[in-house]
């Protein structure tokens, strides 16, 4: 995927994290984290559990307020806005249109008792689409894109396998053609073969829509397959960052070396 980094159209970042910090009592989950994400870029945040990567994802997606620092986002109109200064209405609108969030547990991101078609259609209806036939047609297209057979459109995700649920969650997020997608361990809890298929499938829409993504994972294979750039976290800090192949093939920090050596040979 490295080749695509050269095709980025503009050099204004889509998301800027500046000095982000978050503490829980005495525990400092994230400290002084700054980086820029560019349009079309996929950034992987890797580290062991407890390294602060999930907290960071919540800070970046404005689901959690930082104790220090700020997150800014470049809107469709080109203006860059501080997320904390936005009203709730505007933030929630971003969430349903311009952003996607893929949870590790699909049950968190789906309505499990509602049909797949309605799960995909909900974001469209939330922004005013009001033609049943068209909503259903769009949902069908998206189900096919994530390799779910169209004849499962009226089944609830309760009846789906783990891998299908995860693909449905991705379709539900992508239907409004967001510009930025957050993923929290998107392949966690899935079998290795199912993971491979999911990753394979995720690469194409990410590429076709030119969307930016931030993927939190403890699995370096996922980072290698999906991301352009990697940030390695330890104890709430970013200890190493760089192009994915460079960091994974030639890690500088001893911690990253350990991480790479324990995962990659497997």
């Amino acid at each position: 995927m490295l080749d695509r980094i050269t095709t980025l159209q503009d050099d204004t970042p889509i998301l800027i994290a500046d000095g982000l910090g978050k503490s829980y009592g005495r525990l400092r989950a994230c400290r002084d984290i700054s980086f820029k994400l560019y349009s079309g870029e996929v950034l992987a945040i890797v580290g062991e559990s407890g390294s602060g990567k999930s907290t960071l994802l919540q800070l970046l997606s404005a689901q959690l307020a930082p104790n220090t620092g700020s997150v800014s986002y470049r809107m469709r109109d080109g203006s860059t806005r501080d997320l904390a200064a936005m009203g709730e209405a505007e933030r929630r609108l971003l969430f349903r249109t311009d952003w996607g969030f893929v949870h590790q547990d699909p049950a968190m991101g789906l309505r499990m008792a509602v049909s797949a078609g309605a799960n995909v259609g909900e974001r469209l209806m939330a922004i005013g689409h009001n033609h049943y036939g068209k909503i259903r047609a769009t949902a069908t297209t998206w189900l096919e894109r994530v390799e779910i057979s169209a004849d499962r459109i009226d089944d609830a995700p309760r009846t789906y396998s783990g891998g299908m649920r995860q693909r449905l969650q991705i379709a539900r997020n992508l239907v409004t053609e967001p510009r930025l997608i957050f993923m929290d361990e998107p392949t966690g809890g899935l079998d290795v073969s199912v993971q491979a298929r999911l990753l394979d499938m995720m690469r194409s829409p990410v590429g076709e829509l030119g969307l930016s993504a931030i993927v939190v994972t403890h699995d370096l294979a996922v980072a290698r397959l999906l991301s352009h750039r990697v940030m390695v976290m330890q104890g709430g800090r970013v200890i190493e960052t760089g192009l994915t192949d460079q960091v994974l093939d030639d890690p500088r920090e001893p911690y990253t070396q350990l991480l790479v050596s324990s995962i990659l040979p497997a």
């Binding site: 509602v114 309605a118 939330a126 033609h131």
Partner: protein
């Protein structure tokens, strides 16, 4: 002993003013549920305490009150509420829709068209149209504030996907003044079109849930639907067996234990007025019956 004494229309004037302020706010923001400090009333919660408080707050000595339940003036709860106001306010009561100035209702909008001099007060059990999709008040209030109504369309979508059409027969949600999604109280969807652009003021009171909302006169009230699956008002296939009306909401009456049924108007005043005008249905044929349905 502190012998109880009661004010005109039961509630004390302070309470009435509090309710009137809520009503005024509700009128100013059509379809928005205004919280109010609902009082305990001498009838149980769920039996019309919200409607009764609204009626008590707006009733004046010159009003003529009509109370219906299921469209009828003669159901026990309607009688009980009518008697309550007769006793506590001494106002004139009527069963005639056209003569009434204030009409309190449960579960129906009567058939006769409302005029500008009338106020229709609805009893509301669950004011929140999103309640059964999202049980949390904190969440539903936020959804209303941000006009996030995707979820209610999910429900309508599911209906169509499963049944081929929207399968909500009563308490059919509406959008008021192109802004707030509102529960019309458990009236049949047959009655929904009557709320739209209505000449009269419509007030909704939910006592247990402590909410008042309103549709001011001449306000757009649109039943939720899809462009390609538009709202369809319920249509009976039968005529009233007593007055032969073809345009009214009908109650089904089981006439024996062998499955025999007949249909009669749910709105008793409408039915009796028609019968007085000489209309006759199949079960009520006079020698001069103008039409007879077998």
């Amino acid at each position: 002993m502190n012998a109880p004494t009661y004010n005109f229309a039961y509630l004390d004037e302070q309470t009435k003013r509090m309710i009137r302020r809520a009503i005024l706010k509700a009128i100013a923001i059509p379809g928005y549920q205004v919280p109010f400090a609902s009082r305990e009333m001498p009838m149980p919660y769920g039996w019309g305490t919200g409607g009764v408080q609204v009626t008590a707050a707006i009733l004046g000595p010159d009003d003529r009150l009509k109370v219906i339940d299921q469209g009828s003036d003669d159901t026990t709860n309607a009688i009980s509420i009518r008697k309550f106001f007769q006793k506590t306010a001494g106002v004139a009561v009527t069963t005639s829709t056209v003569n009434a100035t204030v009409i309190q209702t449960r579960h129906r909008i009567h058939e006769a068209q409302l005029g500008a001099h009338q106020v229709l007060v609805y009893q509301v059990p669950i004011p929140e149209p999103l309640r059964f999709l999202e049980p949390r008040e904190t969440e539903t209030r936020r959804m209303h504030a941000l006009a996030e109504y995707g979820l209610i369309h999910v429900k309508l979508y599911e209906d169509i996907a499963r049944f081929g059409h929207i399968a909500t027969a009563y308490a059919y949600p509406v959008k008021v003044n192109a802004r707030y999604v509102m529960d019309p109280s458990p009236t049949p969807k047959f009655d929904n079109p009557k709320m739209d652009n209505c000449e009269a003021l419509q007030l909704f009171g939910a006592g247990r849930e402590k909410r008042i909302y309103a549709i001011p006169p001449y306000t757009t009230v649109q039943s939720l639907d899809f462009e390609d699956y538009p709202f369809e008002p319920y249509k009976h296939k039968a005529c009233c067996a007593l007055c032969n009306a073809a345009d009214s909401y009908l109650d089904e009456i089981v006439t024996d234990d062998k499955g025999s049924r007949m249909f009669v108007c749910s709105d008793t005043d409408y039915c009796e007025t028609r019968q007085a005008q000489g209309h006759r249905g199949s079960e009520n044929a006079s020698p001069f019956a103008e039409s007879r349905h077998a």
